[in-house]
């Protein structure tokens, strides 16, 4: 007789995703779906998809979903959270172009207001959807469609560390940066996502998990090499860890 160890979560719909082979957006979707299922909040949750490769996330999460204009997901989530009964859970799912370029104002002010929402921030150091342009999070020296000779600090400035930045705001209650480059880090990422949703459930205010993610297609390397690139190049620039935890006294 066999017993079940691991299966596809009911927090995701049955729909196959459109993501490129090996893109870790799919892993992050699954982790969010698993957390919604394990906390038994699928029926109580509204997700806000953003603009980027995850624009179609409304087809993949098995909760109520909507989709916001580029960068505006935290503002849309604020409205939804404020008009619904208090026990409803609201999250955004945003890329680094969406959140840290065009949406920088919305995310900073949502955090500053201490909005009781959860943000899943997928940092893959590039604009994936539009063909691999430089993002505010692209690494120094990183070659992209719009920095063909590598990002140059003198021309384009330095990468923005969103977790560190938002952690300075009093309204932010839980901020952690995690990764998806191996199984151990994926397990840690899920724990962080669970903590963020629990922060909201307990009414503690703004929570965000920044997840380091890959874009094999626009990085121009295969999926496994992309995981290695996260580990070797991204993590030194974007250290993992808890940047804010009001409950844990941080």
């Amino acid at each position: 007789m066999m017993e079940l160890v691991f299966e596809r979560t009911n927090g995701l719909t049955e729909k196959p995703t459109h993501y490129c082979p090996g893109c870790t957006h799919g892993i992050i979707h699954r982790l969010v779906g698993e957390v919604l299922e394990e906390m038994d909040i699928i029926e109580d949750t509204v997700g806000v998809a953003s603009v980027g490769c995850s624009v179609l996330a409304y087809d993949y999460f098995n909760c109520d979903m909507t989709q916001a204009a580029h960068g505006r997901a935290p503002a849309v989530a604020t409205g939804i959270k404020r008009v619904l009964p208090k026990d409803r859970i609201v999250f955004t799912y945003q890329g680094d172009g969406d959140l840290a370029s065009i949406g920088m104002a919305e995310i900073v002010h949502a955090a500053a207001r201490g909005e009781n929402i959860t943000v899943i921030f997928v940092n893959n150091a590039i604009y994936g959807m539009t063909g691999g342009q430089m993002a505010p999070t692209s690494l120094v020296g990183q070659k992209t469609a719009t920095s063909p000779f590598g990002r140059d600090i003198a021309l384009q400035g330095s990468p923005i560390r969103v977790s560190e930045l938002l952690a300075t705001l009093d309204g932010a209650s839980y901020i952690e940066r995690v990764s998806t480059h191996d199984v151990a880090s994926i397990i840690k990422a899920k724990k962080a996502i669970r903590k963020a949703f629990e922060t909201q459930k307990n009414g503690l205010g703004f929570s965000m998990v920044e997840v380091l993610s890959t874009c094999p297609t626009n990085w121009g390397i295969d999926p496994k090499e992309s995981l290695d690139w996260v580990k070797e190049k991204m993590i030194p620039e974007y250290p993992l860890g808890v940047y804010k935890d009001v409950k844990g006294g941080k």
Partner: protein, 72 residues
């Protein structure tokens, strides 16, 4: 033997991340195509699988289900 690891082959994109994560090196891409045109990941040596679920946890497309023999 009942399988320990089962692949929903139609969802597989042949990215090979499960292959890189398997501590037993038993996963490989099959010599056939699914309807999307990808070579799906598969396991033949089911008896060598230790049901660790590393493959399932790293798969971006939720392709994999893992079982283990029930302890009597």
């Amino acid at each position: 033997m009942e399988p320990r690891v089962v692949f929903n082959e139609e969802l597989c994109k042949g990215c090979s991340l499960c292959i890189s994560a398997c501590p037993k090196n038993i996963i490989y891409l099959a010599d056939r195509l699914n309807s999307k045109g990808y070579r799906p990941a598969t396991v033949t040596e089911q008896d060598k699988c230790i049901s660790c679920a590393a493959c399932g946890r790293i798969c971006p497309d939720a392709v994999i289900t893992v079982y283990r023999p029930k302890k009597k």
